[in-house]
Amino acid sequence: MRYLPLGQSDREEMLKDIGVSSVDDLFVDVPKSVLLDTPVDLPKTAGEMQVERSISAMARKNLGTSQAPSFLGGGAYRHHVPAAVDHLIQRGEFLTSYTPYQPEVSQGTLQYLFEFQTQVSMLTGMDVANASLYDGATATAEAVMMAARVTKRKKAVLSGGLHPHYRDVTLTQARFMDFAVESADVDVEGKEDLTALIDDKTACVVVQNPSFFGHVKDLTGLAETCHEKGVLLVVAFGEVVSLGAITPPGAMGADIVVGEGQSLGNAVNYGGPYLGLMACRQKFVRQMPGRLVGETTDVEGRRGWVLTLSTREQHIRREKATSNICTNSGLCALAFNMHLTMLGEVGFTKLAKINHAHASLLVDRLEEISGVELVNESFFNEFTLRLSKPATEVVDALVEKEILGGIPVSRLYPGDSDMADLLLVAATEVNTVEDMDALVNGLKEVL
């Protein structure tokens, strides 16, 4: 077997040194009744060719977003990732190392995480960022629990524009922590006012910007309302590229910022692995979950990096830790860090502008189709349409034409009949004019 270096003679020699006659003798602590003496009923060893054939066959049954005009978003976005990024993250020294527990031989990992933390704080306009969480949804739940620790209050208010998965993960966590969550009504139009839900028992208000439905909002007023009542404002985002074009949450008064970082460096991957981002104000850093990398010096006075403030973490504090997270999204953070480094200030802001321009041009054309109505007054690269027919039917009909035409909002709000006609459409830099033609013509035929 190609992954197992021991040969039969090695095994025999080693057994002799150990002083037993067979490997079975090393399993003496296992109760006899549960010890298997033959392999379980599954296929046997297979070579690379066979495995490649089987998995490729499964892949061929799918219609990938690179194989069809595709306009899907909803918290996962297809962007162009420069070739160098995927090449470099596969260097064995990055790919096959563990969490940097021995800093002297992990400076590569530690330095890129320090760069990553810096980039995330710059994008969000916040003081500090951590070295990643699992994804945008779990980061949101972590932010709510963090706000509870900071404020010593046990209630959160969630905007009706928050991604339904971010909401559900937060609700699930809250239920088990005996923590109250008030979810505002679904905010399709982007016009909600949360003021009435905020009181002096509220730990935090969580809003998404751009919202799940695509609205871009000025949150400064909400931040003021929150701060007057000692409430923290948590701002979430599902599309990190938006931060290249719109006012960052930090500039609007956010206390904690969380979001999904998949767009930079990472493929859509049918939903994972992704990259949870979290940033906050300096004064809350000791309540932050997750790993943090800090600068220091070695015994020769040379600059270097280490994992720091680990008294927040599970391996030191156990049940009193700020979170249970251990393994995070390291390599996804590296891909993010590299992609953003490739882009730089000029490339990143241009990327954001192209995204917005593509979405805006697409809207101009879609609005001319009868049976299509734009819901949004503002958006970045994603917007909501109200169709004259149920969106699921429309999307299914577009699939027949090999077009991935967007996300029927009802998929994320099952059972809510008001949502049936809503379609969420995203456009990024990868969408060509031909893609847009295909969608426009397809919709004309289907509606």
Partner: protein
Amino acid sequence: MPTHSISGNRGLQIEEQLIFEQDNPGQTGVDYPDIPQAKNRLGGLDREGEIGLPGLSEPQVVRHYMRLSQKNYAIDSGVYPLGSCTMKHNPRLNEKMARLPGLADLHPLQPMQTTQGAMELMSSCANWLCTLTNMPVVAMSPAAGAHGELCGLMAVRAALEDQGYARTKVLVPESAHGTNPASAHLCGYSVESIPAKENGRVNLDVLKEKLDGEVACFMLTNPNTCGLFENEILDIAKAVHDAGAYFYCDGANFNAIVGVVRPGDLGIDCMHINLHKTFSTPHGGGGPGSGPVVFSEALAPYVPVPYVVQEGDTYRLVEDEASAEGKPFGRMKSFHGQFGVFVRALSYMMSLGSDGLRQVARDAVLNANYLAVKLEGSLSRSYEGVCMHEVLFDDRFLKDTGVTTLDFAKALLDEGVHPMTMYFPLVVHGALLMEPTETESKQSLDQFIEMVLGLTERAKGDNARYFEQAPRMTPRRRLDETAAARKPVLKWVPPTEEA
């Protein structure tokens, strides 16, 4: 005669600045077409001012990361015997498979008729995991081991709530990983710890005493974090169930028993599996992982959404609680889990097959026992007899040498290998936990043994200073962690802002 180079570089060890210190304003490594003319619909919220990102061209970026990579140790470089972490070889076929068009470029919310192959793949991965563990269902969505623990405990709590009372406590052995108590806390439980017996296993008598009507769950790592199989596990399961509690197994050490023992035969109710350990998906310097949780019939109704169901030839994702059959306790994560990690794990399982996976456990255990026998004459083994896939030593052998476990580990860095896990588990003093895994050859183990024995001899020969000063030859020497924590510098700031 000068002793340092002018640059600070040491041959191939190149000093590398932060990207922010290499800024060439206006430069970029990505060329885009011009921005099309279009109406601005940002609602008046255009970003103002500079973000502060540095400008670098592609050659500079490539060199930067190349140099950074060279400051890292990795399983590709050599033995990485980090106990409890299962640092095994990461096959490159897995990487190739995860990048196939039709997998990597699938959007999670595409219509399900366009992702049948992806759901088939998830279902196949789930089937391997259920068969290897002899458990009826698996929740695929948790993102890592700790997240799986939380998922398992949430199911436990939901089941107990259904029975009328959620109870208040979770019991964990003293030797448990820190994530166990942390996960219990996140599930609203208080934590009590169970001491170990002389032989490193759970003290069943104490456990039985503690198993009162307030205990919701007992969490046990098996093989445990001392590298020992819990030989009374069947009695433990019975005692836990007799008390009306559930039995959680931390499956971080599944590599020791995969294909040899099925956890479902041990009476457990749920267990997470770290695909990034037993199933060879890369750790990536800290992640991503994946922590599917297998469940017994008793907890099966409570598995969270989403999950894949097969109806004839068609696959479907059940994504919301209302349309689920059982009583899902909620949702752990956005979308459907760490799909890219599932592809890698499936590629690995298919490659090894049921026979190869069994051999994995047997070779992993053989390698660990080989280390144990070769080292126990010079180092102090914490527990005698056979071990499973990892072997635990403590620092008694360093008594009166002036050398600590930390010093010893740092000296190993100069030998060009990654040290074992240090100071975990907490049940022995100055722990050194070694897990060679099955992917080390005998030759590589022999070299490692020689280094460890050589260093032991050196430690015992009045050489404390040598160890205190180690490492000397690594890209950095010992770093001041106290200073880092006292005045945290967590990001780069432009020099002008510093003062």
